[in-house]
């Protein structure tokens, strides 16, 4: 997942313009690193992919994100709590149908403001 591909898909001139992105069932493994450059991203539909824990580390830079759908991914564990503190605008966080099994992951969610 590169920046140019992203621009081509959304038909935008720059990454700053992207506010809504839908990448459902695309079998992506690491796209958040690229998406982190979209400063104004508000809604992200990412269900049905193969996003993993180390990719989730990039979540802390999504300051304007209001809704993110990460269901039906193969997430086994969540990043530490400090990652979630950056998501000040977040209203909807969908994590169902994943493989989170540790209690410590729930404690990480406490970081949600």
């Amino acid at each position: 997942m590169t920046e140019s591909l992203l621009l081509r898909l959304t038909e935008c001139d720059s990454l700053q313009e992207i506010r809504v992105i839908s990448l459902r069932n695309q079998q992506l493994t690491g796209c958040l690193k690229t998406l982190a450059k979209c400063e104004n991203l508000t809604i992200a539909y990412l269900q049905g992919n193969f996003i993993q824990e180390k990719d989730l580390m990039h979540l802390q830079s999504f300051s304007n994100l209001k809704k993110i759908d990460l269901s039906d991914n193969s997430i086994t564990s969540l990043p530490p709590a400090k990652v979630f503190t950056g998501l000040s605008q977040l209203k909807f966080l969908y994590l169902h149908n994943n493989n989170i099994s540790n209690w410590s992951d729930l404690q990480a969610l406490v970081g949600i403001p």
Partner: protein, 578 residues
């Protein structure tokens, strides 16, 4: 904040929901249910309605809808947030208690406020209604006063003054207009009176000028009124003798029979409508090419014949009137076209009211009096006027004078009428079908003459050609090269047929006599070839000369010719020169 974690292994750990509800401050809903106060506050219970994981608390996780645009997605996000908050607020007991209390307080406050406002509104209404009523009453009063013409009772001093001024102005204006109108009528009446007076004066005096007696110094009278005229002239004789030294005989010489105007007698002179000025009454004079139709064959004594039954035809009962009319006719010594007259009279008998004009014949009815001096004519005119005034119209005839100017006019009118009638008649005739036939026949004649002429020309031309050909002495025929080439082609084409089918006239050189023989191709040749196209038409019959059979071998100087045409008995051959 809405978080979903169901279908994860971690969900099966007991106390998972309790932990998350109490640890995340902003969390409003977890998985499929909204978090209630009962879950937050320890050991609290608000009854079934507000219990946790209730069916009221169930939350629908919005699907990924296939909105077209990103704007739609963003809008739906806002809607979802609002919906989440609403479900929480409606089902949270603490929020409910707060809202109820606030509602109660605000209603209380509003009640006091509304009471005050209502009183103020009523006050305003009272004042406004009073004002409107007074206004209406005032208007009604004014209307009433206007009906009874007592408007001035309501007026202020200024208005009253203005009204009085307006009335004064109006009255003055009316007075002025009435005066003006009266004056106008007086003037019109005076003018009319003047006109009538002047007209009367002119009628009685200046008809001489109107009739231009100085230009046409002739007076016409009817033959039958000659005695009256002589009577009038005799009365005037002493005056003339004194003034001009003219004798009666001299004047009588001036009275001659008129040859200029014929008349068609319309009515008897007595039947003229009587007018206050009988001098200018008309008959219908005919003048110019129109001839008088006398029936010369009728003997003059025919009129005196006792068998003549004109009386029976014209006049039935009224004997004295008939006598008078016949006497007039006798005086005039007129001749009649009896046939015509009879026809007219029969028509009159059938339809007496329409055919008033009995006499269609034309007469020399006038005597012309050409006095030596204009004064005499004028004097006579005036005396005739006096005579006519004095005469008793029921017993005697009035003297009728005719003036040349009027007669000329009448003659012109009659001529125009006749010309127009003739034109109309010719026009009506032009529409007859016989004229079409005549036109067609004329066209045919022209065409036949033209075609005859063309044939004649053609004959002459052919004769000329024959004459020229006769003059040829040599048996050598020189042909232009281009013609020769054409001849070759033609010869090649017609070799089988042995004939020039396009040529109607054939030439042959006889080597012994040096003559040219021409023959019209008339009959279909025996060998079946097609005859010439123009053989029947183009050459006249006298061209048909006897064909003399040339001897093929006898032809000399064969080699000198470019081409030779040889005739044998039934056909011709073309022999190209070698």
């Amino acid at each position: 904040m809405h978080l979903t974690l169901f279908s994860n292994p971690v969900c099966s750990i007991p106390g998972y929901r309790h932990f998350l509800v109490n640890s995340i401050q902003s969390l409003l809903a977890l998985d499929n249910f909204v978090i209630t106060d009962e879950e937050r506050i320890e050991d609290a219970s608000f009854g079934y309605r507000f219990r946790g994981l209730n069916e009221f608390m169930k939350l629908h996780i919005p699907d990924y809808t296939k909105e077209k645009s990103a704007e739609q997605h963003l809008f739906n996000l806002e809607v979802d947030v609002y919906r989440l908050r609403r479900i929480f607020e409606r089902n949270s007991p603490s929020v409910l208690i707060q809202s109820l209390y606030r509602g109660y307080r605000s209603r209380n406050y509003v009640k006091i406020y509304f009471n005050e406002r209502r009183q103020k509104i009523m006050k305003i209404q009272k004042i406004a209604r009073g004002f409107l009523l007074r206004l209406k009453l005032k208007k009604d009063l004014k209307d009433m006063l206007r009906y009874t013409n007592e408007e001035h009772l309501m007026m202020s001093n200024v208005e009253l003054r203005k009204r009085a001024a307006a009335r004064r102005i109006y009255e003055t204006m009316m007075e002025y207009h009435v005066k003006k109108e009266t004056m106008r009528r007086r003037i019109a009446a005076a003018l009319k009176l003047q006109t009538y007076y002047r007209m009367r004066y002119v009628k009685n005096t200046s008809f001489i000028n109107a009739l231009q007696l100085s230009k046409y110094p002739r007076i016409y009278i009817l033959k039958e009124q000659k005695p009256i005229f002589i009577k009038i002239v005799k009365k005037l004789m002493p005056l003339f003798e004194d003034k001009h030294g003219i004798q009666f005989e001299d004047l009588m010489e001036c009275l001659k029979e008129d040859k200029k105007y014929d008349t068609i007698r319309v009515t008897e002179p007595d039947m003229f409508p009587r007018k206050p000025l009988p001098l200018v009454q008309f008959t219908k004079p005919i003048h110019g090419n129109f001839k008088v139709q006398y029936n010369k064959s009728l003997p003059p004594d025919k009129f005196a014949d006792p068998n003549f039954t004109l009386r029976d035809y014209i006049f039935s009962d009224d004997k004295p009137w008939t006598d008078a009319a016949l006497k007039i006719l006798t005086n005039r010594s007129c001749h009649f076209n009896m046939e015509k007259l009879q026809k007219t009279l029969e028509g009159l008998k059938k339809n007496p009211f329409i055919n008033q004009f009995v006499f269609q014949d034309q007469y020399k009815d006038f005597l012309v009096f050409e006095p030596p001096r204009l004064d005499i004519a004028i004097t006579i005119c005036f005396s005739v006027l006096d005579y006519n005034r004095a005469v008793n119209i029921h017993e005697d005839q009035q003297m009728i004078l005719f003036f040349e100017r009027l007669l000329e006019r009448v003659a012109a009118i009659a001529a125009i009428k006749n010309a127009f009638k003739a034109y109309k008649w010719r026009q009506s005739r032009a529409q007859l079908p016989i004229y079409e036939i005549i036109e067609k026949r004329a066209a045919n004649c022209i065409q036949s003459i033209w075609s005859d002429w063309k044939i004649k020309k053609r004959m002459i031309a052919l004769g000329n050609i024959k004459r020229h050909v006769d003059r040829i002495q040599s048996n050598t025929l020189y042909i232009e090269q281009s013609i020769y080439q054409n001849l070759n082609e033609i010869a090649a084409k017609i070799h089988d047929q042995y004939r020039f089918t396009e040529q109607s006239v054939m030439f042959d050189f006889n080597p012994h006599t040096y003559q040219i023989h021409m023959q019209v191709q008339e009959n279909i040749p025996q060998d079946g070839s097609v005859p010439g196209r123009y053989s029947q038409i183009s050459v006249p019959r006298w061209f048909n000369l006897a064909l003399k059979v040339p001897d093929f071998l006898a032809t000399q100087n064969v080699n000198n010719l470019l081409a030779l045409f040889h005739f044998s008995v039934g056909d011709c051959r073309v022999v190209p020169s070698t």
